[in-house]
Amino acid sequence: MNKNTNSDGNQVANITDPFSNLEAFKVSQDFNEFETQIDYSNIPLRKPGKQQWFRAHPTIKLDNVCFLEVDQEDGRPESFLLTSSVVAGLSDLPGFSKRSIRLCVSRPNNSPFVWPIKMPRGSGSKHDEWSKSAIAVADLAETEWVRIQSDMVLGAYKHITANAGWEEPVWPLLDIGEILRRSVGEQHIIGSADHPVVRELRGLA
C-alpha cells in the first residue's frame, strides 16, 4: 500500500487507484482556509437616514455622553466629544448636550453607524418629545428592523417596523470606547479646557 497525503494535507492510501475511493481525494469546498473579519476604520456619527432600515445593538450603548456642538460657517455644526475630566467645567458652553450613544447597523450591508440621541432634559419642552421618541425607536430597534420618520405635526419621531423576516444583523467586534473613538475621530475629542475650540467659544483665542 502506498502512502501519501492529499491536497488538504491528510494521509490517504492507495494512491495509484483514486477511483477506488474518490471521497478520500476530495478537496473541501468550504473555503474557510482562514478566518476573516470585517473591520471599519470609520464609523459615521449620524442619525438613521429616512429610507434606512436599521437595528440598534442591545448592549453597546452609553447614556449621558457629553458633546459640544459648534456652529460652522457652512451651516453644518461640528460635534466634539468631551472627556469626563472636562465636562464639569464646560457644561455652561452653548452647544453642550448629553447624548445617548447607540451603535446601529443599516441594511442591506450591515453598515454600522453611531446614533447620538440627545437625552431628554425632563423639561417637558418640545425638544424632549423628539428625544424621548428617538430613544423609544432605538430601544425597539434592539429587536426589530425599523425605519424612522419625523412627524412634524406630532412633534416627534414615528417608526415603521419591517416584518420581512430578515437575518439578524452582524455587528462590528469592537467595544464602546473604540466605537466612539472611530466614530467621533481623535481630532474631535476635547480632553482639556485649553482646547482651541473651547478657548474660542470663551473668547480667549
Binding site: N6, S7, D17, F19, L22, F25, K26, F34
Partner: protein, 579 residues
C-alpha cells in the same frame, strides 16, 4: 531525483500518424521509453499494426505518460489496443500550472519545456517531420528512420518533463484527469453522426442562400443592402420594447454574448437575428470537420478553459455558436441519440456547495425561480409559472445574474427595469439565501488571500490581484461543474455507453434504438452518481431528449425556426422541424 509515485514502470509514449480532418488516424510509428530503466521500444508500420496489445505494461502497476494523450489514445483505438489503467497527461498538468495566470495561451510541449528550462531537450526540425507524417506512406527506409527519430525526440523531451513535473504534482488528481483524457479520445473517435447528404446540399448553395436568408428572416428591415444596420436595429428594439446594453460610447453592445442572452429571453424577436448574424458573418458550413464516415469529429480541447471545461473549435464542432445547424445531426439507421443535460447544474452546485438549505429547497422544487419569488414574498405560495410569469422571469434573471456576479446596473439593463428594482431583487436574493452569500464572500477572501482556488478534484485556478471578482466568485461553480461532467463521462465509458460529444453541462450519447431506454437511464444514473460525488451526497437531476432514426436532432428552443427557413429555401420542406 525522488519521484512522487510507486509504480513499477512508467512508460512515456508518442505516436506519429496521419491525421485528416474528421478522420480516424492512420498510425505510422510509435516510440516508448520506460523512465527508470531507460528501456526503449521503436516500432514502425506493420511491426506496430500487427501486434494486438501495447508492447508495454498498461496494468495498474504502471503509469502511462504522454503530452496531450488523446492523440496517443486515438492511435491505441485505431490499433484495437486496450487503454492503460493509469494515465498522466503532462499537457493537462502544464495547463493546470498556467490556469488563471493570463498571458501566453500556448500550452504545447515546447512551451512546457521552456517553462521548466528544459530547452536543451526541445525537439527540432518539427515541421519537416510533421509534414511527412501528414503526407503519409509509403515511406522510404530513410523516412522511416527519420520519423522514428523525430518521434523519439518527443519521447525524450516528454521524459525529461515527466521527471521534472512528477515530483511536484499531486498524483491522484492527475490520474483522475488522465482518465478523462481517455474519455476524450473515445468521444473524438465516436464523433457526432451527421446527415452528410443534406449538409452537402446546403453547403453547395450557401453563398446564394445568404441573400435569400436576409430577405426571409429580416422582416423588420434591420439589414440595409446586405449589411446589419445598427441604427435600424435600435429602432427595431424600440418597436418591440427590448432593452439592450450599451457601451460607454452610447452605442449598442452587439457582442455574441449579449445576443445570446437576449435571444434566450426574446426567442421570437431577437433569436432569429442572432442566428442570422452568426450565420452570415462567421458560419462556414464547409469548415465543419466531418469524416468520410459522415461523423463530425474535432479536437475537443479538454481543460482548455480556466474553469477546466472543454473548448472545442467553434467552427469545426457541430455544437458551435449557430444552433440551427444542429439540425444536421442525425442518428444512423437503427440508432438513437440522446442529449442529456444537468437540470440547472450551476444553481444546484451553488446550493449544494454553499450549504444554503433554502437554495437547496428552491433547486429541489423543480422551479427554483418561482420558489425564490415565493420565498422572497413576491408571489403567493400557490403561484405558478402561468399565474405569475413576469415575476418568475424577473427572479429567474436575478438568480442567474447573481451566479455571474452581475451588479445592479447590469441587472437593470438585463431586465429593462430601474436600478431601484434591480437592487430590490438583489437584496431579496441576499435576504433569502444568506448562507450562499457568506460562502461567496469566503471564496473571494480565499481566492485573493491565498492566491488560488481549487475544485473538488484539485483543478486549481490562480487568482491574481487584477482578477475579476465575478469570475473568481463563479469559479467553484464552473470548475466543479466541469469536474462533474468529466466524472459522469468517465462513468459512462466504464458502462460501455457511446458518448458522442460533451456540450458544456450536457452530453450527446448514441446507441441502438432497441436499448435506448436502458442506455439513457444508465447514462442519467452516471450523471447522478457523479453529482453525488462532487456535491457530497446532494444530487442533480438531468433531462434527456431522445431522437431516433429516421428523425433528426433539434434544439427546441433555439434555431428551430431558422432551420426551417433554410430548409424552405433549399426546397427540403421534408426536413422541417415540427415547432
Amino acid at each position: 531525483m525522488e519521484l512522487n509515485h510507486s509504480f513499477e514502470q512508467i512508460w512515456v509514449v508518442d505516436f506519429e500518424y496521419q491525421s485528416c480532418e474528421g478522420e480516424i488516424p492512420n498510425v505510422h510509428c510509435m516510440v516508448a521509453r520506460e523512465l527508470s530503466s531507460g528501456r526503449l521500444i521503436r516500432l514502425f508500420g506493420e511491426e506496430l499494426t500487427q501486434i494486438k496489445q501495447p508492447p508495454f505494461d498498461i496494468t495498474n502497476c504502471s503509469l502511462f505518460v504522454a503530452y496531450y494523450s488523446p492523440a496517443e489514445f486515438s492511435c491505441f483505438l485505431s490499433l484495437g489496443w486496450n487503454l492503460p489503467v493509469n494515465t498522466l497527461d503532462l499537457y493537462v498538468e502544464y495547463r493546470l500550472l498556467k490556469c488563471g495566470m493570463g498571458g501566453e495561451k500556448a500550452f504545447g510541449l515546447v512551451a512546457a519545456l521552456e517553462h521548466f528550462r528544459l530547452t536543451h531537450f526541445k525537439p527540432h526540425e518539427k515541421d519537416q517531420w510533421r509534414e511527412l507524417a501528414i503526407r503519409g506512406g509509403p515511406f522510404s527506409a530513410g523516412e522511416q528512420k527519420g520519423l522514428l527519430d523525430y518521434c523519439q525526440q518527443d519521447v525524450d523531451a516528454t521524459s525529461s518533463l515527466a521527471k521534472r513535473m512528477l515530483a511536484g504534482l499531486y498524483l491522484p488528481h492527475a490520474l483522475i484527469r488522465g482518465r478523462y483524457m481517455q474519455s476524450v479520445a473515445l468521444m473524438e473517435k465516436n464523433g457526432v453522426p451527421m446527415d452528410v447528404g443534406l449538409l452537402k446540399e446546403v453547403i453547395a448553395r450557401w453563398q446564394a442562400l445568404k441573400e435569400a436568408l436576409i430577405n426571409q428572416v429580416d422582416t423588420q428591415k434591420v439589414y440595409k443592402r446586405g449589411s446589419f444596420s445598427e441604427r435600424r436595429f435600435e429602432d427595431y428594439l424600440k418597436r418591440v420594447g427590448v432593452s439592450w446594453p450599451r457601451l460607454a460610447s452610447g452605442k449598442l453592445e452587439l457582442t455574441d454574448e449579449v445576443f445570446r442572452q437576449k435571444s434566450k429571453s426574446n426567442p421570437t424577436s431577437i433569436a432569429p437575428y442572432h442566428e442570422l448574424r452568426v450565420s452570415l458573418s462567421r458560419l462556414k458550413l464547409s469548415g465543419l470537420s466531418v469524416g468520410s464516415d459522415g461523423r463530425n469529429r474535432t479536437m475537443l480541447s479538454p481543460f482548455r478553459s480556466d474553469t477546466g471545461r472543454n473548448q472545442p473549435s467553434t467552427s469545426k464542432f457541430i455544437f458551435g455558436p449557430s444552433c440551427w445547424i444542429r439540425g444536421f445531426i442525425k442518428p444512423g439507421p437503427g440508432k438513437f441519440l440522446a442529449y442529456i443535460d444537468y437540470s440547472q447544474q450551476e444553481l444546484g452546485i451553488a446550493a449544494a456547495l454553499s450549504g444554503d438549505r433554502k437554495m437547496q429547497e428552491a433547486y429541489r422544487s423543480g422551479d427554483p425561480y418561482l420558489r425564490f419569488a415565493q420565498m422572497a414574498g413576491a408571489v403567493p405560495t400557490n403561484a405558478t409559472k402561468k399565474s405569475h410569469p413576469e415575476e418568475r422571469s424577473a427572479y429567474k434573471v436575478c438568480m442567474l445574474a447573481v451566479q455571474y456576479g452581475m451588479g445592479a446596473e447590469a441587472l437593470a439593463v438585463q431586465l429593462g427595469k430601474t436600478r431601484y428594482e434591480a437592487n430590490k431583487l438583489l437584496r431579496a436574493h441576499k435576504d433569502t439565501f444568506p448562507t450562499y452569500w457568506r460562502w461567496n464572500d469566503r471564496i473571494l477572501n480565499e481566492g485573493f488571500g491565498v492566491g488560488s482556488l481549487k475544485t473538488v478534484f484539485g483543478w486549481k485556478r490562480a487568482v491574481q490581484a487584477d482578477a475579476k471578482p465575478a469570475s473568481v466568485g463563479n469559479f467553484p461553480v464552473q470548475g466543479n461543474g466541469a469536474e462533474m461532467l468529466r466524472l459522469a463521462i468517465i462513468k459512462m465509458h466504464e458502462n460501455k455507453i457511446q458518448v458522442a460529444a460533451p456540450v458544456h453541462d450536457a452530453v450527446l450519447i448514441e446507441g441502438d434504438i432497441q436499448k435506448a431506454d436502458l442506455t439513457v437511464a444508465k447514462a442519467q444514473s452516471c450523471m447522478l452518481e457523479a453529482s453525488k460525488i462532487i456535491l457530497s451526497g446532494f444530487h442533480l437531476e438531468s433531462e434527456a431528449k431522445v431522437v431516433a432514426y429516421p428523425h433528426r436532432y433539434r434544439d427546441e428552443d433555439r434555431g428551430g425556426g431558422f432551420w426551417n427557413t433554410v430548409m424552405g429555401l433549399v426546397g427540403r420542406e421534408d426536413c422541417y422541424h415540427a415547432l
